[in-house]
């Protein structure tokens, strides 16, 4: 069977500052085929497609359509060449109807004769088997219907090459089946469909060929019929690279954070986490692997007290035995409560009782350092907010994924960012900037933060320096548990190794470190154990010293057998 080329990419390269997102990528797309683009997060799939769709402009290389070199500088250019992209995040006007959204931005001579438009939309929908009411408003639509509008929008403009960015990420299994039917019908109509995905089962189910990208490079394009899950995984994750990150043997690992049967629903009611159970030990780095959006962020945020969980336990083991009650316990209500629960003894081993004492006397006694914990504290921190967690005396540090939007205040200098967690200290209403300034100076010195000054807004610093400030602050509080989400994302090699070193030092100090990462090589080299998440579930916890990349990669991508059989 003779196949005609629809689109060719020749030597496409795109750089963002020092980062090369795509490196000399060659890719062919034929008419009437479904091509899957497969790769891990950040491998450059979306960037590559954005260059065909006119969102980005390549630094080097050529794009050929029907054998002719073309220049695509805007989405309009792309449409002129009959290319349309359906983005992961829909770009629709909520208050408009489906048809109004579809013709939005078109300059047609016929004007906006909505009757005609509705008829044409309905005709397209019928031709490819969509279910869509052209007069329905977007805000009344389900996610799947919105996606349909986006696809028809592209077809309405006469696109022959359709790019779908992670189209199944937001759909239910039934909707996915329906979408694939539509895609096959479009293919039968001679259109070229490119699907960006990282789900292996879908690739095998729907595509004709698969192009695999890894770290911005095109590894291979293979015929779907001639490949297997294992082969694709290997091409996707690559052979193990020796990274030379030092890893010490955990000493005296004790359970520090125990999560049992955690369930979480998003505000929209979607089940995000299902029955998550694991233990993070002190003196150990627990890695969390998974495709982005598998529930890692929600898991860390629910532990940190930022997301209300539905059910399950988050138990914190506070190593307090024979330690004096400290600053954090100066929330006197809590101290009195623990006193009634017989939680303290004094230095001679006699039980402490606050019976009949005035609060002021209790405070004085506690501050003298003679009130000691009898046992380790075991506290359920589920659905406590970050402040309550701290007031319970739990030193839980969290380096969130969104550094400037959550972990730091971009417009403030380093000093003021150091205060974020500690500004409440002291009794008067005034801020005490001296300790944070000293801490800021210390972090700049020890972590070699490159900054014009201590009060330069952190937003102006480079990604690596921003991260050093954030990690530095979170470590400065001598945490017992340290959670870090993608702490080396976007960082250069040198800064990355600084972060690895800091995490290792925390581990050696006996901290339970939880490291959410995307680079499997790093996870395998740095962590002691790796928990793999997939679709909001734990699909396995492996020993990082003996696990292989393929093993972890498969756990990350394979959809559960149960669901497959159920269909």
């Amino acid at each position: 069977m003779e196949k005609r080329l629809a689109l060719q990419m020749r030597g496409i390269t795109k750089r963002f500052g020092p980062v090369t997102a795509n490196n000399h990528v060659d890719l062919d797309v034929y008419q009437g085929e479904i091509l899957a683009i497969l790769g891990e997060n950040g491998c450059g799939k979306t960037t590559l497609m954005n260059m065909i769709a006119g969102i980005y402009y390549p630094d080097e290389g050529q794009i050929l359509i029907g054998g002719q070199e073309v220049l695509i500088r805007s989405p309009k250019d792309a449409f002129d060449h009959k290319i349309g992209m359906i983005h992961q995040h829909f770009k629709l006007v909520d208050l408009f109807t489906a048809a109004e959204n579809i013709v939005l931005g078109l300059r047609e001579k016929e004007g906006y004769n909505l009757k005609q438009v509705n008829a044409r939309v309905a005709a397209i929908a019928e031709k490819y088997g969509f279910h869509l009411d052209p007069t329905k408003k977007i805000y009344e639509m389900s996610v799947s219907e919105k996606q349909t509008v986006e696809i028809i929008k592209v077809l309405y403009r006469g696109a022959d090459i359709l790019i779908l960015d992670e189209p199944t990420a937001v759909l239910t299994p039934q909707e996915i089946t329906r979408l694939f039917d539509v895609i096959r019908r479009m293919k039968a109509d001679g259109k070229s469909i490119i699907i960006i995905t990282h789900k292996l089962n879908e690739v095998l189910e729907v595509s004709d060929r698969v192009a695999i990208l890894r770290r911005g490079e095109h590894i291979a394009t293979v015929n779907t019929a001639e490949t297997s899950e294992a082969e694709l995984t290997e091409m996707m994750v690559g052979k193990k690279i020796s990274l030379d990150i030092p890893r010490s043997e955990p000493e005296n690992a004790q359970p520090r954070l125990v999560v049992e049967g955690l369930n979480l629903k998003s505000p929209e009611g979607v089940q995000v986490l299902t029955d998550i159970s694991f233990t993070a030990n002190g003196g150990e780095i627990l890695g969390i692997a998974g495709i982005a959006g598998s529930g890692q962020r929600e898991l860390l945020e629910s532990i940190a007290g930022l997301q209300p969980v539905e059910s399950g336990e988050i138990i914190f083991h506070n190593p307090k035995k024979d330690k004096p009650v400290t600053f954090f316990h100066k929330s006197m209500k809590r101290v009195e409560e623990l006193g009634r629960e017989h939680a303290f003894h004094d230095r001679s081993g006699k039980e402490v009782s606050f019976e009949g004492m005035h609060r002021r006397e209790i405070r004085k006694w506690v501050e003298s350092g003679d009130v000691l914990f009898k046992e380790d504290e075991i506290i359920d921190i589920r659905n406590k907010n970050p402040l309550e967690i701290r007031e319970l005396g739990i030193r839980l540090s969290f380096v969130p994924e969104d550094r400037l939007g959550m972990g730091l205040v971009g417009s403030m200098g380093i000093t003021d960012n150091m205060m974020l967690r500690s500004y409440r200290k002291g009794h008067a209403g005034l801020l005490d900037r001296k300790p944070p300034r000293e801490l800021a100076e210390q972090i700049i010195r020890e972590l070699e933060v490159m900054t014009p000054g201590i009060s330069t807004p952190v937003r102006r610093l480079s990604g690596g320096n921003v991260q050093k400030v954030l990690v530095g602050r979170e470590i400065a509080f001598a945490p017992k548990v340290l959670m870090a989400a993608y702490p080396v994302r976007g960082l250069d090699i040198r800064s990355s190794y600084t972060i690895y070193r800091l995490l290792n030092r925390q581990k050696d100090r006996g901290v339970a470190v939880i490291f959410v990462g995307e680079d499997l090589d790093v996870l395998l080299a740095l962590c002691d154990r790796i928990m793999v998440m997939n679709g909001g579930r734990v699909t396995g916890i492996v020993d990082a010293r003996s696990a292989t990349k393929e093993e972890v990669g498969l756990m990350m991508t394979r959809t559960e057998k149960r669901e497959e059989e159920g269909r």
Binding site: L71, L387, F398, D402, G407, G410, M412, L420
Partner: protein
């Protein structure tokens, strides 16, 4: 021929790019240049509009001197100048904590009016019946509470249900105006709507009539500067304004901060209302705030939400107002001219922010700079 050489593919004539940073002297240089250009342009417009200037172009010097004469021409003008700055600044200071929190309180007008109304209501009903000292205190407290209530209502709706505060606070202005009309209808039986000066509860004076008002606002400026910069509350306001997610991350309750800050913002507007109602007019009309609730928004913005800088921006705006009024008197032109002049200058100042935030480059520059990096 390569595709890049075709005419339609040529790079655009003007490039705009966001500046990452700009030295402070350069930013202020641009602002100063904008003000000067604005004054020059005002002269041009005035020349086109004012007959007397066309007949006698030498009077252009007087035109510019009038800006100074309007404010500093006599002792009386100078005191009025300082008093008006104080009132304007007071409202601007009141709005600033909310603005720092990115809570766009456009309700300064209404909050001020309600403050004044509350104070006048107290003296209307209790004046002469209780000791003067007690009356004064009650009037002040009523004004603060009235303003605070007017700020609290939109804050609660925003915190609990996420309503848009800009529209809400704006609407509350109209409610305040009609509330004043309503009470004037009750208080003034003859229907003229003009409430006579109230004899009781006038704010005490020291030295000059306006001196105490000016001192109060100066003290407030310093206090608010300290509040925003050196207190825990001020810090929380900045965190919430920058990112609600960051606030939640460290356990700051954004709802609590929003409500607390709007109570403060409203109460300070109420204070301005007290200064107007009890300190100056001893009466109230629907125009008692006189649009200053809106002008104050500009004062606060132009001063970059910094109380100390706002003293200068309030002074500049008041200088323009009084200068323009002087011009319309001296040149015998329509009362609309002041608005035109003030508008022109503000247009230039606001426009200059564009050149501070963006860099403008022309086609040729780009080519020279990136020669060699161009596609082959």
């Amino acid at each position: 021929m390569s595709v890049a050489d075709r005419k339609e593919n040529r790079e655009p004539l003007i490039h705009l790019s966001r500046r990452i940073s700009i030295p402070r002297w350069k930013a202020w240089g641009i602002r100063l240049a904008a003000v000067l250009l604005g004054f020059l342009f005002c002269g041009l417009v005035a020349f086109l509009l004012i007959d007397r200037l066309q007949q006698n172009p030498g009077k252009i010097g007087q035109f510019y001197m009038d800006f100074l004469n309007g404010a500093f021409g006599s002792n009386r003008k100078l005191w009025k100048f300082m008093k008006d700055i104080a009132i304007l600044l007071c409202i601007a200071l009141a709005l600033t904590p909310a603005f720092r929190m990115r809570f766009w309180n456009t309700g300064g007008e209404g909050q001020t009016l309600v403050g004044a109304l509350a104070a006048i209501a107290v003296t209307f009903y209790l004046g002469g019946k209780i000791p003067e000292g007690l009356l004064m205190v009650l009037m002040l407290l009523a004004a603060l509470a009235g303003g605070a209530l007017w700020g609290l209502i939109p804050a609660v709706f925003r915190a609990k249900w996420g309503t848009n505060e800009t529209l809400f606070t704006l609407m509350m202005n109209y409610v305040a105006t009609y509330l004043v009309s309503f009470f004037l209808e009750i208080w003034v039986p003859n229907g003229s709507g003009a409430l006579p000066r109230q004899e009781h509860g006038k704010m005490p004076t020291i030295g000059h009539d306006y001196l105490l008002i000016i001192l109060i606002v100066l003290a407030l400026t310093a206090a608010l500067y300290v509040y925003l910069k050196y207190t825990k509350h001020g810090y929380e306001i900045n965190v919430v304004g920058e990112s609600v997610r960051t606030a939640q991350y460290v356990g700051i309750s954004d709802k609590k901060v929003i409500i607390r800050t709007m109570i403060l913002s409203g109460a300070l507007c109420g204070l301005a209302g007290y200064l107007i109602g009890a300190g100056l007019d001893q009466s109230i009309t629907t125009e008692s705030a006189g649009g200053r609730g809106f002008t104050a928004i500009m004062v606060s913005w132009l001063g970059k939400f910094n109380p100390l800088a706002m003293v200068l921006t309030a002074a500049l705006i008041q200088l323009l107002n009084q200068g323009a009024a002087q011009i319309s008197k001296d040149f015998d032109v329509s009362g609309a001219l002041p608005s035109v002049i003030v508008g022109i200058i503000l247009f230039f100042i606001i426009g200059s922010e564009f050149f501070i935030n963006y860099e403008v480059r022309f086609r040729g520059h780009e080519n020279r700079r990136e020669q060699g990096a161009v596609r082959k």
